[in-house]
Amino acid sequence: MSFSDAQINNLIYSSCLSLDGKDYDSYLKLFSEEMNYRVVAYSPELRREMVWLDHNFTEMKNLFKMLPQHVKLPGTFFRHSVVYQIERIEQTLKATTSLMLMYTDLNGSTKLMAAGRYHDTLSESDGALLIKSREVRLETRDLGPGIQVPI
């Protein structure tokens, strides 16, 4: 795979922009159909790793399909991300991205909702760069009432 850093950055930032814009079809197009999406956090209370979401492509699709029927925080989410590191190990591309998730309520007040990192493994399909797996490793363990959309 010979993708530039700019192409990799663009893919990851596009994933944030599409989620921010609730454009879930565009979001899913950035992932390989063999994708795995996980949200994990370390619990100092249990002294162990926790998995908070573990979905494949079909499960993600179903999650998005059902979102309109759920009662959710009514405001908007805004993801601030910075790609910190890109690693090329033989045919494998990996990227580590720092992420802050902010929530803006209906009155326009914004607060930091979560801090964490994306750990992405990328793959090529028909010449296109895609996300093959994304692990969202959260530093924040108090997500307010909870978040029904991917982070």
């Binding site: 979401l53 699709k61 059902m66 009662v71 108090d142 009432p145």
Partner: protein
């Protein structure tokens, strides 16, 4: 027909016990009385035994405003102490969990063993004149007991023992909790803008299941849902007859027909509410325990635990986690909805816009009957000594101690 201000402030014309004064959720004085008369008198779920399996393992928590440390001793007994040094009252432990063979206060380095004995005083000769020595400066111990792997604590030295307090309240969970060794694999907490009783009501009244698309499709619409009977136990606990949920009715979800927790059938749902503020819910393959900690009248911390079978394969655990997270994780479908529901109620209670809450559903004691909520407030009234319908009214002819305390066999 809409109501005038006068009409809005009139007590609902419903049978006795079928509404509560909304100030029960917002009044600072009531909150403080609850802390003193209820929370510091009743058994509080602290943790599961799997969180402290070995000598020195500890968990800390705040209960009724007091910091506590729950620790397993060398004799394998679990004890609880105020997390407060017997010298100058510094908190001894900051971490939520850990392992320590002894506890050393960071302020002046006094140390304590896992039985609460003071084992070291820095330069003890300076205390001789005042008569202070290791032997008379132990930690304040808090009553602790276990039932089916659940560790409970009670700040009242004269409380009823835990076995009598729970009674048969956990009978629906004997097989789930008592057959195989379980362990906690999930923990998260939510600090919500709501009163603790609102959260507990939501655990008890199933009428709100209409608000969840998951419950509408997988449960409420399924034959037999409305036919289950609530069973109320002494001391305010309540449970509901089991029911088989059709998980496949929710788009993209599958039935839960394998790897069930002990005693559970395909899709089986069970629930028990332990008075005052702990709930266990089993959904075939997954088990949740939640417990609340009142922070203020309109602020509550709720802790959520998910449990699986200790030693199960990675594949089985992944499935169990998935099922748990589908509803109850911080990215799940249901818990975020429940939090938003109770916060919406708190918003109108906060400054008195709402004056009463109705708990008036009557369905012959079946699923969406409010009887279990009314039973909760009957028990609440015994402890707090106020009328839920008008919190400024004291309960007439209440006994000095809650009736349930008369059964104390542990004095």
């Amino acid at each position: 027909m809409s109501k005038s201000a006068k009409e809005w402030s009139e007590a609902p014309a419903v049978p006795e016990g079928c509404y509560v004064d909304a100030r029960i959720y917002t009044d600072q004085e009531i909150f403080e009385e609850e802390q003193e008369k209820l929370m510091r008198k009743t058994w509080k779920f602290a943790c599961h035994v799997s969180e402290i399996p070995n000598f020195g393992d500890f968990r800390t928590l705040d209960h009724a405003g007091y910091p506590l440390i729950v620790i397993r001793g060398e004799d394998e007994k679990v004890r609880t102490f105020l997390n407060s040094c017997s010298h100058r009252s510094s908190m001894i432990v900051d971490e939520p969990a850990g392992c320590a063979k002894s506890l050393t206060c960071p302020f002046h380095l006094w140390s304590f063993d896992t039985r609460g004995n003071c084992i070291y005083i820095t330069r003890p000769e300076g205390f001789e004149e005042a008569g202070i020595c290791k032997e008379n400066r132990g930690l304040r111990e808090v009553k602790t007991d276990e039932i089916l792997g659940l560790v409970f604590v009670n700040l009242d030295d004269d409380c009823m023992n835990l076995t009598d307090y729970i009674g048969d309240g956990l009978e629906m969970f004997n097989d789930i909790l008592g057959t195989k060794e379980l362990e906690v694999f999930h923990y998260h907490r939510v600090l919500m803008d709501a009163n603790w009783k609102q959260w507990q009501e939501t655990n008890m009244e199933l009428y709100h299941e209409w608000g969840h698309v998951v419950n509408r499709t997988t449960a409420v619409a399924v034959e037999g849902y409305h036919d289950r009977m609530w069973k109320l136990y002494p001391n305010g606990h309540g449970t509901l007859e089991p029911f088989e949920v059709e998980y496949k009715n929710y788009p993209g979800w599958k039935d839960r027909s394998s790897k069930m927790l002990p005693g559970l059938n395909d899709g089986e749902f069970r629930v028990v509410d332990i008075f005052p503020n702990t709930t266990l819910i089993a959904r075939s393959t997954s088990l949740r325990i939640d417990t609340s900690t009142p922070i203020g009248p309109g602020k509550t911390l709720v802790e959520y635990r998910g449990l699986g079978i200790k030693g199960e394969s990675a594949e089985d655990r992944a499935m169990r986690q998935k099922h748990h997270n589908q509803l109850w994780g911080p990215l799940g479908r249901n818990v975020p909805e429940d939090v938003l529901f109770v916060e919406k109620v708190e918003r109108t209670n906060r400054n008195g816009a709402a004056q009463f809450g109705l708990i008036a559903r009557s369905e012959g004691g079946k699923s969406q009957d409010d009887e279990v909520v009314r039973g909760f407030y009957q028990e609440w009234k015994q402890y707090v000594g106020r009328q839920p319908e008008d919190i400024k009214q004291a309960v007439v002819s209440i006994s000095p101690e809650p009736a349930t305390h008369q059964k104390n066999t542990d004095r």
